[in-house]
Amino acid sequence: MRRAGLGRPAARFLPMKFTLVSLLLVGLFTARSFAVSLTERVRLTIEHVDLKVILAPEGTNLLKFIVLDHDRATNYFTTNAVLVVAESSKLSVPEGFPELGPSGSDLWVLPASQNPLLLYLGINATGLPLSAQRLDLFLRRIDGPGHFLAWQFASAGGLAVSHSTRDGLTEADRFNPVVGGHEHHNLGFSTNGLFTLWFQARATVGGTNAWSPETPILFAVEPLPAIPAGPATLVASATELAGSLQLHLQGTPKAAYQVERSADLANWEPVTEVIASENPVSVTVPLPGHSTQWFFRARRP
């Protein structure tokens, strides 16, 4: 009896007949409920994009964030997009701006004025009725390896910092765009890596308070640190090919895995090496005839 398996210490054994349909249904059900993985998100890199607040559903006092891609005239759920801060955005904080960081320190900046080589990210309040008042977008939480700042300069050059996680998060860390308006700020990150900023919107709509949930917005400040490859999942096809079996491996993108087989779960021999160039990636393994059962696993080499 042949079985498909996974490498230890990350070894998990799956039944031969794996109900992919049920997995697909579960995936669809959860797609809108939970964030998709980084690799499955739409990467927004140089577009004119806005973090936009809307009333949703219309006619309620519930606020919601969406990501508006002006270049493609497309709206994304915030969980389906990653806002990329390219490595070329890295600057050094000059002297005289202690609010932005120590002089000479690195700061990755998405500027308030459009740079065709960088993401042009704005704050958009055009989705609210003009009768709405006092819109605030609070930064409630930050998950990431460094700090986040947002600032503008007045016409005559005066610095106004609207957000700084360097001194902790308070009610003062907020955008308050004009209802019906649209604005740009300089957005800074003190180091590279993945940052999740949790924003919450509040406004007065129809005389009542309107709120959004705390909404995670994912930023990828490049270069992203290398992530160690995780364990892989091996699934066998329901149909055997003559003298061989087709397996499907799902692992960390671009990571290499060694597929091994064993007739007794004690002695393992290498079969082939697979690169997770896509997910899942198919691999056909031979089934030698000197055993009636085979176990398979995938391990990091």
Binding site: P111, S113, V178, N186
Partner: protein
């Protein structure tokens, strides 16, 4: 005498009596818009509040309200003498003022090679006109400045399919006609240009200046009458 008095008052009130057949945009979001079709640029004004397009743009008067008046700081000394009056339509939205942007959303980025250039070709008015941006760390980036003459360096670089804001400056109250020209390299049509297109601005002084102007007008009338006797 009555007609002479009325004439003097009319001269004094010249700053506040509107011209005919024009729409005055005083607040809200508007754009100096650039479109392109059938081989021709279309430079216009787009009123974002009413979704109205003014083409030619002379159908709209872009009002720089009195709230825009400030005193020229040292950082902007290239635009006007430090301490002198300066009217600034800011790149960040002020609900009391017109929020004027530069819109190229009607263009498709794939149709163009690189960015477009919007050049200053002429300034007619009682003062000088300028456009500047403020960089990431507060550095002043002059884009246009008629104070040192109108040259090839007076231009904005605009990404097709996008939209941006800058600070616009005027050094004296009154009516201005600003000549702008768009140019770029179209993927099919090659190098194209709009020619000079005129935009109308009116810069409104602060109320105290209205009174001073009115007083000056009446005084001038009185002196003229006395000299006639």
């Amino acid at each position: 005498m009555k007609s002479q008095l009325l004439f003097a008052l009319a001269l004094t009130a010249g700053f506040i009596l509107p011209a005919s057949a024009q729409t005055f945009l005083t607040s809200g979001h508007a754009d100096i818009g650039i479109a392109y079709a059938a081989g021709l640029f279309d430079l216009h004004v787009h009123d974002g509040e009413t979704d109205t397009e003014f083409s030619p743009p002379s159908g709209a008067v872009l009002v720089v309200g009195s709230a825009a008046q400030t005193t020229t700081p040292g950082a902007l000394s290239a635009l006007a003498p430090v301490g002198s009056s300066l009217w600034i339509l800011p790149k960040t939205e002020n609900p009391s003022l017109l929020f004027l942007g530069f819109g190229t959303e009607e263009l498709t980025i794939a149709d163009w090679t690189g960015t477009l250039s919007l050049s200053l070709k002429s300034v007619s008015g009682p003062g000088n006109f300028g456009i500047y941006d403020v960089g990431t760390f507060g550095d002043i980036q002059l884009k246009m400045n008629s104070a040192d003459g109108v040259t090839a360096g007076d231009s904005l670089s605009l990404v097709p399919g996008s939209h941006g804001h800058y600070n616009l400056t005027f050094t004296a109250p009154g009516d201005y006609t600003i000549g702008l020209e768009a140019s770029g390299i179209h993927a099919v049509d090659g190098a194209v240009t709009s020619g000079t297109v005129n935009y109308s601005f009116t810069v409104v002084p602060e109320p105290e200046e209205y009174a001073a102007l009115a007083a000056a007008g009446l005084l001038g009338f009185a002196v003229w009458r006395r000299s006639r006797r």
